[in-house]
Structures are given as structure tokens and as C-alpha cells.
Symmetry: C2
Subunit: 298 residues, 2 copies
């Protein structure tokens, strides 16, 4: 008896990470497939799990951490179904369609909630009760956990689209969000940075000013998270956050913006222990997906 197996899926905008893990988290099979339409991705995904099941045994539960918008309400008849995503082919697709044949329970949450769970259980969020995990990459999103469970209202959060204060004289870029123009994602996501300056932040020759500008936008999300969720810690991950100096600039800008109003042991002077990089690096999402699947084992 080697224990039950968990199928885990981290579904991102450019790639899917698929893994099979034991209950203790040990990954025994893993692959990556490119994100195309569900007609292309779903059979490939199912085939991977079929092969893994043949090699290692039946899969007892699936955990999915996916891009959205997606229905993550277990009480909904559309649980696991993509809603209004503009991503071609994905609106209406449902993970249960591809995974139902395995006859195993399926737990679905968002990619950021999954990454938050990974960080909470095994990464930089350990020991917290309320944890916010933000990714700054192709998009910007935040998952908030309380005691390891993701918070949501009628849907998952959409933190990337908050309005931010900006000074057009300093940043004439109009923003690139198709819905809001200059919302946070429209100004500070990876594509916004590339469109504005023709390169990623880390490839700019002398990026100090640009890093400062982006940090100032991200700090408004960080401050809003503090004021509207009071998390014990903020983890900031994703490709853009790998820019040297960005997290340091974000700490400074967030502290400046909070202006000493919120006093708590969690908010250490300098915020070095409050705003932190992921402990699991790029493994946070798939780790969280395994943990979501484990939950379904009961």
C-alpha cells in the first residue's frame, strides 16, 4: 500500500503543468503542455493522466489551479467551468468534461489561490492565518487565504483591475487593459511594461526610474490589500517580480503609502518580513494544485 494518488493541474495562460503526486506530496510524474484551445489541451491532459494511472495506479482525486474567470463555487452546477474569458474556446469549457471519466472528485480553484495555498502550506506564507499571494506577470491577480482556505464572494477576486492613482506627466502610457485602460494590470503587467518601454523591466539598460514607477503602482494594490483584508503577510511572485530591486522598491512605496496608519507587529519597519518573494518560486501553483486534490481525498 503506497497510498492514494492525486492528479494535479496548474492551468496557466501559456502552459499547463500536469503532475501526479502521492498523498505526501511526492511528485511521481510531471509534464508541461502548451495552452491552446480546450479541444486540443483537454485530450492531451486526459492522456497524460491515463498513462500515469496505468504506470502508477488509479488517481483518487484531482486538484486544479486555473486561470480564470472560472466558477470556483463547489455548490454551483457550473463548478469548474470557465465563464466569460475572452481566451478563444475557453468560455464554457469545464475541467469536469475532461476529467470526469476518471470517476474521482475534482477540486477547482484559481491559479493565484492555488499558488497562495502552496505558499501557505510549504512556502513563504507558513505560519500566517490570513495570506495574500499576488502574481505580477502576463496578468496581475491576488488570492487571499484564511486558515488555508481561499476567500471569495460571488466569484473569485480580480485584484489586477483596481484603479490606481497615476501622474500622466510622469507616465504618459495610457495603459493597455481592454476594459479599463489604466487599471493596475493595464499599467504594471509584463505586457504593459513591454509595450511601454519595448523590453521587460530587467532588460532595461538603466531601469531605476521605471522600477520605481511600477513599484508605485503595485504598492497601491499592496496598500489596498492591507486596508481591505489585513493579511498577515503579502507574497509577491510572477515574472515581473523577478526584476532586481523591484520588491525592495515595492516595500518602500507601500510603507510610504500606508503612512504609518496601520500599526501591527506584522508590519515590521521596512516591511522586509511583510512583503516577501515566494518560497517555492515557480512551483507554488502546482504544489497548491496537489494540496487542493489532497483536500478532495477527505
Amino acid at each position: 500500500m503506497t497510498g492514494r494518488l492525486i492528479g494535479a493541474i496548474e492551468a496557466g495562460g501559456t502552459k499547463f503543468v500536469l503532475a501526479v503526486a502521492r498523498e505526501n506530496g511526492e511528485v511521481i510524474a510531471e509534464t508541461r503542455i502548451a495552452t491552446r484551445t480546450p479541444d486540443e489541451c483537454f485530450p492531451e491532459m486526459a492522456a497524460f493522466f491515463h498513462n500515469a494511472a496505468q504506470a502508477h495506479g488509479a488517481i483518487s482525486a484531482f486538484g486544479v489551479a486555473s486561470f480564470g474567470p472560472i466558477d470556483i463555487d463547489p455548490d454551483s452546477g457550473d463548478y469548474g467551468r470557465f465563464t466569460t474569458t475572452p481566451k478563444p474556446g475557453w468560455a464554457g469549457a469545464r475541467f469536469h468534461d475532461a476529467l470526469g471519466e476518471f470517476g474521482a472528485p475534482i477540486v477547482v480553484d484559481t491559479d493565484v489561490n492555488g499558488a497562495a495555498l502552496g505558499e501557505w502550506a510549504q512556502g513563504a506564507g507558513q505560519g500566517t492565518r490570513t495570506l495574500a499571494y499576488t502574481t505580477v506577470g502576463t496578468g496581475i491577480g491576488t488570492g487571499v487565504l484564511q486558515d488555508g482556505h481561499s476567500l471569495a464572494g460571488f466569484s473569485h477576486f480580480e485584484a489586477g483591475h483596481i484603479a490606481v492613482a497615476r501622474v500622466p506627466a510622469l507616465d504618459p502610457f495610457p495603459g493597455r487593459c481592454p476594459f479599463h485602460g489604466d487599471c493596475l494590470e493595464g499599467l504594471a503587467s509584463g505586457p504593459a511594461i513591454e509595450e511601454r518601454w519595448g523590453a521587460s523591466l530587467s532588460k532595461l539598460a538603466s531601469p531605476a526610474e521605471q522600477v520605481e514607477l511600477i513599484a508605485g503602482y503595485l504598492a497601491q494594490l499592496a496598500a489596498n490589500l492591507v486596508l481591505l483584508h489585513m493579511p498577515d503577510r503579502l507574497v509577491f511572485g510572477g515574472g515581473v517580480m523577478k526584476t532586481p530591486g523591484l520588491i525592495e522598491a515595492l516595500r518602500l512605496a507601500t510603507e510610504r503609502r500606508l503612512g504609518g496608519y496601520v500599526q501591527a507587529p506584522q508590519l515590521d519597519p521596512g516591511l522586509e518580513r511583510y512583503i516577501v518573494a515566494p518560497g517555492l518560486g515557480d512551483e507554488a501553483g502546482i504544489t497548491g494544485a496537489v494540496l487542493l486534490g489532497k483536500r478532495a481525498l477527505g
Copy 2:
């Protein structure tokens, strides 16, 4: 046997509402006292409940909905204690000091969380799972409930202090928040409006433009609440919200700001059923305090 009695306190910045109610919510005694220092307020508050107990019977539980910042974590040793408030005399004061002699359990939450609870149970928030109640008055604050229980992280929320996008050419007022200057509360609270225009919004001769400006600021909170909490409904109360036309302008500005990004049955076109006035008017807070006390009865 007429059932147990609940002592209820709505502690506001200018007045305390004190009430004694039966388990069914019927208020059998009520008074208001001016907010001064705890040395003055607390004995007066205790005397009211002593007199009520003599007339009607022992008080079995207390519910407190109070201004803050205040510790609302039942697991904390400082539960019910004011923390860093600049209000003279209140930092360190604790409701349990004044009410402990009654030997009854005490439930403490913030004023906005209490009002949210009142609206959720008996007012405009009925039927929601996630409800946000915002007051716009001397200060600005928001309480968010899920299934009738207030959300909090390491502390209660401080929604009034979020940063807002502004156009200094249209609104040269620098804001009056001692911590942030032009945060939402610094720009759109009652005192900010009076300081900027010399009168309350409803007393301005031709207020259309001013109402529009304030609505634009409040819409940023409304949109942030949607994006970071996805509530089923937003109740907006408090003195400033009584300005004719303001809630209509707020709906328009919020819809414009969301830009059609969030699609859900809750967000009806025009937001008339999404952004609503309190159903209990100024009674939301004390109603919530009674309900908090009722919870302590078990």
C-alpha cells in the same frame, strides 16, 4: 418567562446608543449619551444597564458595535480594547472594564461590521451571502460579512484610507487625512466636504458637479470592494449618503469604472439593486449590536 435580555451598545464618534432588548429583538429601553472620554462615558453606560436590569431583569449578554481601531479578535487577550485611536483617552480603554461587573458574555465588533450585520439580518442586505456595508460620514469605513460573520485579517478593515485616483486640476483640495492627505476619507468624508466647500453636499446651492466629484471617489471604493471581495450587494449609508442624487451618481460612476469587466447577475445594469441605501436607516448599528449580543447567548 419572558426570555433573556441583551444589552446593546453602538459606540460612535459623537454618541453612544445604548439599548436593552429581548431575544426577539424588541427594544425595551434605549438612551443616547454623548461620546466623551471613557472615564465619563463608561460609568454612565454602566448606570444605564444597572437601571435597566433593576427594572426588567438581569442582562444575559452584551453586544458592542464600536468605532475603532479596536481589537475584535475573540482569541486575543485584548479583545474589546481600543488600540491606537487618536481619540483622547480611548487608546487602551476596554469595554470589558465597564461591563465586566455584569458577569455576562460580551461580543465586540466594529460599528460598520455591526451595521452590516443589522442590514444583513433585517435590512437591505437580506438574502446575500457576501455583503459590504459602507458608511460615509465623519469617517469612511466598510464592513464585509460572509454568511453574517464579519471578515477580518489581523485587524478589522480600514477601507476609508484607500488611495484614489484624482485629477488635481478638477479638485485642488489637498485632502485632510492626517496620515495620507488625499486618501478616500481625506477627500470624500463629511468633514472633507465641509472644509472644501464650506457646507455639506446637501446644503450647496447647485451641487451637481460636487456630487459627481464625490461619487467618483466613492466609486473607486465600490469598485475595489467588487474586485477584492465580490460582494453580492453594497449598502452605502451614513450622513453624506443622504445627499440627494449621490447614490445615483455613485451607481453610474461605479458601473463606468468597472467597465463591464465583472459579469454577474448580482450586478444589474444600472446597479440599482447592487448599490443600495440602508434598509434600517440610522438603526442599522444598534440593531447589529443587539444581534451580536444575541450571538453570545448561544
